[in-house]
Symmetry: C2
Subunit: 204 residues, 2 copies
Amino acid sequence: MPKQNDSKNVTPSPARRGELLGVAAEVFAAQGYNATTVRKIADEAGMLAGSLYYHFDSKEGILDEILSSFLDELWQGYDEVLAAGLGPRETIEALVTESFREIDRHRAAVAIYQKESRHLAQQERFAYLVESQQKFEKAWLGTLERGVAAQVFRSDLDIRLTYRFVRDTVWVAASWYRPGGQHSPEEIARQYLSMVLDGIAVRI
Amino acid sequence: MPKQNDSKNVTPSPARRGELLGVAAEVFAAQGYNATTVRKIADEAGMLAGSLYYHFDSKEGILDEILSSFLDELWQGYDEVLAAGLGPRETIEALVTESFREIDRHRAAVAIYQKESRHLAQQERFAYLVESQQKFEKAWLGTLERGVAAQVFRSDLDIRLTYRFVRDTVWVAASWYRPGGQHSPEEIARQYLSMVLDGIAVRI
DNA sequence: TAACCTACCAAACACTTGTTAGGGAAGGGA
DNA sequence: TCCCTTCCCTAACAAGTGTTTGGTAGGTTA
């Protein structure tokens, strides 16, 4: 399955492609996918709209490549954590930390994912978004259940509500996070984990 | 300032307008504002695209009315809570509960607000989104600071991080919440507050 | 020098978009 | 009966959309 246009007799350099993908991701994240015109992307990259089609075969293809390469890297990190055989609490800690590192590295892609994944998932081309989301839920929900069984997580909470709570608190951060800001990803992860695990109220 | 088209010699009924606003909000929330065509909205309402312009003067006007009427109602509830003179913890509890009630009543509007407000706020027409967001931050951040001073909230956390944490955990719920589901808004608020205040870990 | 490849431009294409203008059907009030 | 109001339709417009086609400047290779 050719993802780029190697059906034609051209071979764009991966380096330039990478640059353009970065530009496109920034614009998509800022304006939204549908509100972004290919002329705007080209403009931001210092070229004309048609020239983009030397590197990519469609606007949708650009989006596809941004999201799938992000998810590939995400799961590389997640699978490593899940294979480490940690306890439930340590697994959650490692997943959250890894998530904030991904937000740090793929801020734009995460923002796009959050805004668009819901209605993109309905299209066949982006079916992998659904798969990823299911795998995601399995990993997090499973860990939480293990934690409840091991009596390290509270058993008086609706587990699905807890799952959504933890998942969302982590990933929405991409909407305000700016790399090179006051806190490192690890520091943010540490504070978020402290809030999620122990709450923001003073212990009596 | 006429928000509808009363410059022309027509007077659409508020009831029908309300119905159409509801339809439009649902479609906007599901597909995203820019990805939604006025033909799609009209289709969902059982009429043709041009007919919408009997009730509204533009697509943007529809969006404007959805968002502003939601914010109006939101602040009606918030102002009541803030004027009640409650303690910091009770204020947070009341604000969160009120927020979930708003999500219950204006699910679509909240979803639209979350997806689009960031880049809409740049337009002059939607300047009230910025005002609202500032007022919002002032209310929540102020309450959290009061709580830290009164030693009911932890002082070892970055207060801005805490603010974003609480704010986001509450409002993202609109992306998965469905009215008439397993839990009432009040029950969700109760569990969320329990997680935010006391954490999900078992207390040792 | 000649052939070739990379990376872009110029100009157009077909289509979709939000929006408008004029008209008409249904019903109520005079 | 006639008029007026409400609500929608038909048909079109102009602007903007993603995309294609053919061409070309500049470098690399033979």
